[in-house]
Symmetry: C2
Subunit: 308 residues, 2 copies
Amino acid sequence: MLSVHQLTCFLATYEQGSLTAAAEQLGYAQPSVSEQIRALEKSLGVQLFRRVGRGVIPTTVADTLRPYAERVLAAVDETQRAAQSVKAFETGTIRFGMFGIARLYAGAGLIADVLARYPGVRVELIGQNSTEVHEDLRRGRLEAAMLAVANADSSGMTVTPVAREELVYISADPAHLATPVTAHRLSLASLVMPETSYRAVDSTRTTLRQMLHETGRNPQTRIEVEDIETAVELVGMGLADSVVPKGAAEQLLPRLAPNAGWVSLRPRQFDTFAIVHRADAVLSPAAQLMIELATQRIRAIAEPVHPR
Amino acid sequence: MLSVHQLTCFLATYEQGSLTAAAEQLGYAQPSVSEQIRALEKSLGVQLFRRVGRGVIPTTVADTLRPYAERVLAAVDETQRAAQSVKAFETGTIRFGMFGIARLYAGAGLIADVLARYPGVRVELIGQNSTEVHEDLRRGRLEAAMLAVANADSSGMTVTPVAREELVYISADPAHLATPVTAHRLSLASLVMPETSYRAVDSTRTTLRQMLHETGRNPQTRIEVEDIETAVELVGMGLADSVVPKGAAEQLLPRLAPNAGWVSLRPRQFDTFAIVHRADAVLSPAAQLMIELATQRIRAIAEPVHPR
DNA sequence: CAGCATCCATAGGAGGTCCCTAGTGCTGAG
DNA sequence: CTCAGCACTAGGGACCTCCTATGGATGCTG
């Protein structure tokens, strides 16, 4: 099997025209280089140098093979430099999960932060829908993610709360927004709720379930959709009301449901944003960077929560 | 140190998404591949795969490095294929020494022969002047050559006679060509002789020295030049006469000295063409090919000599 | 939820490779 | 002819490579 080391010795010998000089250049003893050349000649089945008393003379085969050997060594060198670049975040891809609502809070700004600091990198913010992110995390395809989660779910996952955000009731009917919405009124409302696929672990849903459960009632969702944007649009069309984080309401209502408004719940409820990753994972520098930046972004908008 | 083998294991693992599958593909045991990947990760200083229960997942670093690894392996593959091509004479350079007079007999035709059989090769026919060829042979820069030499000279060289060619006396003065030239007449002639630098071992000169020595006379060379073409031109200008192989006379006189003619020596003298190489050399396939083809060419023109 | 299959990591050992030092033989130059 | 320079050989130590056997973790399934 042809090896990089053999080609290195070959080129040094070719340039120096001498095994001794090549060995000196490479920092080896002369017999070592001699052995490498012999092994290379044997593995290729061709003679590369003629041994002639004083020094060695490249054959025409050596002349032909030299540019190939140089290309191999150049490719190896590029590989190593690429690895160093990736380590220093000069290039490469940083992939991070940020699903659903969290994405609304930090998406574009977060990417801008990364690019400002490391102009060469590619950034992937995974999470068009939440099931995908959850599955990727579980399977290990995604190292870490920023999610809005119910407290301490997910066996085998480490959940680190970062910030919390008030949940507000949104509606196109001003009468629904006159006073804060109680559990009783919530249980009677006709709701559209996003995150269908992830409903069992979705933070907002879990919070609402707890709120209603304390009053002995079950939540009524009339419409189930995947995107929060779709849910807000439906609210704007007057087909149902919904409960979303306040920041999402402020960001989406003017654009998707300009005739709708929002009001607090009573008692006020909060969604928790958290960093989630496998409990056993050692986080890479890229993931740590994204976690740090995403945390800063979220905390600038929502109310910081500091884990004990 | 990064090795080709590590990159092979890396790519197999990346494609298969599993160490076990990669090991099977490569024909190794699973721990071997595992060890190679770990060594590669250590030497690059980056994590390439996340080990996650079932299988391994490439990190973004692995995504980035994969094309580099593929380029290295492609370059290695090209190198090996190039070596095979050279072995089969599909490509590469064939270098052969053919100096002075021999070149006039077989130069262009010999190259045509090689190209007809191996269209991909480059051919170098070394030997603008004879010193160069002799030096290259001695130093080992040239593996073998076809020369016109005196019998069995050159210590450390193997000389294989291939053909012989009559030496003729050429002159622009018809009176000089009326009868065959004897040693006596030769010793009185005003001669221009080529191959100045190589005069001690040149075949024609040696032959003439022997011819004159038997009659107790010394050769008289009025003019010394390097090229046989120059010598013939000088003969055409009537400045001197010369002695050259018959084939050279027939080829050069019409072009360079149309007013000159030739006549035999008495007794007739012959130049010997021979293959010369270092006594210790093992001839490469390329050299053997050139020797075979050059021998055929020379023998088609000059009188064959078969070594005992 | 218990059992099974799958996959990776570790341990230990046989064989090979890499690299060294020391010495030999050959070649070319003075 | 002698000397210096260069490649080869021999032998041994350190390391690497690859194997088998085994253990631990995970995910699927009845």
